[in-house]
Amino acid sequence: MLLQPEAGLLFWMFLSFGIVFAVLAKFGFPIITKMVEDRNAYIEKSLDAAKEANKQLAHIKEQSEAILASAREEQVKILKDAESTRTRIINESKELARAEGLKELEELRKQMKLEKEDAIKDIRRQVADLSVDIAEKIIRNNLNSNTEQMAMIDRLIDESMVSKS
């Protein structure tokens, strides 16, 4: 009994399965599988794009790092250069200043020497003047003794020295 297919049920089964199959095969499963496949493709694409972007980012990072490193190197070099330039300039200016100072000193010395000579000349002239003056006075006073004369001269010289200085 169980092994005999019933015509009525065959008919209904054929009908219902046929309709279910027709509807689902047209409007059901293809849409679902297509959408899921589209989504998978989209995800794949997005992943690839992300990977590519990551790669590019890494590349850019590498580049920027290289740039940074070179910049740092440059900076160090520049600093070193500046340092050396500075010390050089300082040294040079020191040297120059010393030379200048020496020259000035020399000049000063020369001038001093000149002035000294001038002064000496002046003193000499004054001494001569004084001597002449003194001699005049001595002559005018008509001195008696030699010792008196000498003391007088000394005193006069002292006086003139004091007044000179």
Partner: protein, 363 residues
């Protein structure tokens, strides 16, 4: 964990009480009629098709859903009427009546001019046909709701992933698509995926519906040979319509030594039909067996009534536990049978897509 165990215990107790009380009521009104329970009759009766859907018997009053009868009599043409007209098989209506014995036992028959009992054209919506229609609608609604979600929410440019139930359905559909259909059919699988997916979900939903013992489920739809016959026919037709030239060559002119050909060709031709035949029998027998086991285990309760209260109650517990266990196994079987039917259909379709690559190698 402890609370879960308690819950299970309470559930089992409820089951036991429920079944014993229903036994009590059935015992009451069957004690007048037959004395002993005919288990074979009972199980076959449950598995067979009927014109009415017997839900339960309340006291003496059977609660029944009468289904429409559609018959074409010898002279009376097409008739559509409710099965309630038969008054549970006791009376005839318009010359049609339900045979109580003979070849057509339980079926609508009429008398022809010479007085012989004949079977009219009968496309009544029987219990199985009704369950079939319900399950078809469920399948349609289920899959179409998923498809609609995609149509509404997802485009190829900005696809979206569904959540919740639709996400689950997507996973289910794609697992069948990717794990069964794709590897079994081969590179042409897209053409056949809709058919195979429909088959899978149709069988799976019918199997599961057969396990739910509440109206309008619980019919043995996929355990009915007419249903599996149609499914197998669909596979047979699709396999052979889309079979390649190479496939037909392998059937009618297989590459074997000439003296083997007279043997091989009939075998191959028979093989064309045995493959779907095996599909039909496998599904039918598995589901039928599962339902029979459940029914048999439930009958255990009623069979042990006469052996005393102690044995009866202990057997009741055993029966309920076993029934629950078998029901879980049946859920597995529901999936496995749908899986196997789909997979084998896919394999047969894949075999029919044979390409002539090894033929060329031979030349």
């Amino acid at each position: 964990m402890n609370s879960r165990l308690k819950y299970i215990f309470v559930l089992v107790c409820l089951f036991v009480m429920g079944s014993t009380s229903s036994y009590a009521s059935s015992e009451e009104h069957s004690s007048e009629g037959e004395k002993s329970l005919n288990v074979k009759e009972l199980i076959l009766d449950h598995l067979a098709d009927s014109y009415q859907w017997h839900i339960t018997t309340w006291g003496d009053h059977p609660i029944v859903v009468s289904l429409p009868v559609i018959v074409k009599g010898e002279n009376s043409g097409w008739n559509v009427f409710s099965a309630a007209r038969f008054d549970h098989g006791h009376s005839a209506y318009k010359g049609f009546y339900i045979a109580q014995e003979g070849d057509y036992k339980g079926k609508i028959v009429e008398k022809n001019a010479s007085g012989d009992e004949i079977r009219p054209w009968d496309i009544s919506i029987t219990k199985n046909a009704f369950a079939l229609l319900v399950c078809s609608i469920i399948t349609l609604v289920l899959i179409m709701s998923v498809a609609r979600w995609y149509k509404k929410n997802s485009t190829a440019e900005s696809p979206k992933a569904p959540k919740g139930f639709i996400g689950f359905m997507e996973m289910f559909i794609m697992s069948v698509n990717d794990d069964i259909i794709k590897p079994c059919v081969g590179k042409n699988y897209k053409k056949f995926a809709p058919y195979l997916l429909t088959t899978f979900f149709f069988i799976f939903i019918n199997n599961i519906a057969g396990l739910i013992p509440i109206f309008p489920f619980g019919a043995t739809v996929t355990g009915n040979i007419a249903v599996t016959l149609v499914l197998a026919l669909f596979t047979l037709v699709i396999v052979n319509i889309f079979g390649t030239k190479e496939y037909w060559k392998e059937v009618f002119w297989p590459e074997v030594p000439t003296w083997l050909k007279p043997i091989m060709i009939p075998i191959e031709i028979v093989g064309v039909f045995t493959k779907p035949f095996a599909l039909m029998i496998r599904l039918f027998a598995n589901i039928l067996a599962g339902h029979s086991i459940v029914l048999g285990l439930v009958c255990l309760i009623f069979l042990t009534v006469k052996l005393g209260v102690a044995i009866n109650s202990s057997m009741t517990v055993v029966s309920v536990v076993l029934t629950i266990f078998i029901s879980f196994v049946e859920i597995l079987v529901a999936y496995i049978q749908a899986y196997v039917f789909t997979m084998l259909s896919a394999v047969f379709i894949g075999l029919a897509q044979a390409e002539p690559h090894h033929a060329k190698k031979h030349e």
